[in-house]
Amino acid sequence: MAHANDFPDADHGHVRAADSHHGHDPHDHGTGLYWIVFLALAGLMIATVLVSYINMGHFNVPVAYGIASLKAALILWFFMHLNRSTRLTQVFAFASFVWLGIFLIMTLGDYISRNMVPRAQAQTMIRKVDSYDVVSGSRHNKLDTVGPEEDLGVQERANTPGVTEHKNH
């Protein structure tokens, strides 16, 4: 569907389609394609419901969202007419998903990595934690109990009994 220039098909497709009512213009779709897309969407809908009853372990969520993305792509491409939009419109549509990706990936990356520390730093912290009086089995992770900012002056505090316990309540 290559356009000679980046302007919408209002001037190229639809007007001509209106001029020639008998379907010779490639832009003048019948409604058959829309019903085929609808059948595909309905099939995918049934598939995603049935598949969700199968336990695929780690693939439960990716499969569910993969099918949903496929359905969204069909709607975007055929129903929202991105297939005969201009490049610029397609870029605008795609850009919203770029922002979505930045939003989701960076925020979830933050949440997922909050309990992670680099290996070298973690080993240092474990060594320090083990030298203190840390109550084991508390609901906090050991690595969470000592942050970098708390390393200053720990020698004095470590000699005071009961200092580290408040962190475990």
Binding site: N5, F7, P8, A10, D11, H12, H14, V15, A17, A18, H21, D28, H29, T31, Y34, W35, V37, F38, L41, A42, M45, I46, T48, V49, L50, S52, Y53, I54, N55, M56, N60, V61, A64, Y65, I67, A68, K71, A72, I75, L76, F78, F79, M80, H81, S85, T86, L88, T89, F92, A93, A95, S96, F97, W99, L100, F103, L104, T107, L108, Y111
Partner: protein, 261 residues
């Protein structure tokens, strides 16, 4: 000077020439003496556009930029859901099992079918058939109402089950996991409620556009309002397509089809 004015082209010298025809001027007075464009302008294309193609492109880009903001609005809700689901998986797992899968599936089908009707309305607009536009938009609005009826039954069932956090809440359910279940139901109602609010807006817009089609305001080369409202309706449909797995489906793997709650 007067000679130059008489022979100079009407368009800007640097403007792209789309076709050899003059820009079409619709005064809106062709049928019943009223102005026939969306904002009751006197002409189409509007005077600040070079031509019809530019006007249509501007409308499309503005609509897609708006839809991008809507994507981010719903993305925030999905993100909150994802984070809280990972922090409170037990309550969310049980909560999704209390939802009505057949009703949710039926509503998806209703929305997909309504999207087809909008597309058929645009198709009728391309063919210049105003009655076809109105017919398909009425089908769309009826399907939107069917969606609300099904949703209403679902919400009423939740109310009777004591699953509505602000109105009717069974605080004894699940013991110390009650808070997690409540969090799930809050997110369920906020997300489906935000979606339902968008559907109400969409149905009002569909009504406006259907009225304009009824007044013969659209032509095969001018149906931009219909197309923009169609984009909005399809977007609402896409949101529901993602709401269904998020709220209803991703924790169903422990259940068998047809099994009870």
């Amino acid at each position: 000077m007067s000679e130059i004015h008489a022979t100079a082209p009407l368009t800007h010298p640097g403007s792209p020439v789309l076709d050899s025809q003059e820009p079409r001027q619709f005064t809106g007075k062709e049928t019943d003496g009223h102005v026939h464009t969306f904002f009751d302008q006197d002409q189409y294309p509007a005077m600040h556009f070079e031509d019809a193609g530019q006007q249509k492109l501007a409308a499309a880009l503005g609509m897609w930029a708006f839809l991008a903001t809507e994507v981010l609005l719903f993305a925030g809700l999905f993100l909150v859901y994802t984070i809280y689901r990972n922090l409170n998986h037990e309550g969310f797992f049980l909560g999704s099992h209390m939802l009505d899968i057949p009703k949710g599936t039926a509503n998806t089908m209703v929305l997909l079918l309504s999207s087809v009707c909008v597309v058929l309305a645009v198709n009728q607009a391309q063919k210049g058939n105003s009655r076809g536009i109105v017919r398909n938009l009425i089908f769309t609005m009826i399907l939107g109402l069917v969606f609300f009826v099904i949703k209403g039954f679902e919400w009423h069932h939740d109310y009777e089950e004591g699953l509505v956090p602000w109105m009717q809440w069974d605080g004894d359910r699940l013991g110390d996991k009650n808070f997690q279940l409540r969090l799930f139901m809050v997110l369920y109602f906020v997300m489906t409620g935000t979606h339902a609010a968008h559907m109400i807006v969409g149905m009002v817009l569909l009504g406006v556009v259907a009225y304009k089609a009824h007044q013969n305001r659209f032509r095969p080369d001018y149906y931009t309002p219909l197309e923009m409202v169609g984009l909005y309706w399809h977007f609402v449909d896409i949101v529901w397509v993602f709401l269904i797995p998020t709220l209803y489906l991703i924790d169903l793997y422990a259940k068998t089809p047809g099994g009870g709650h």
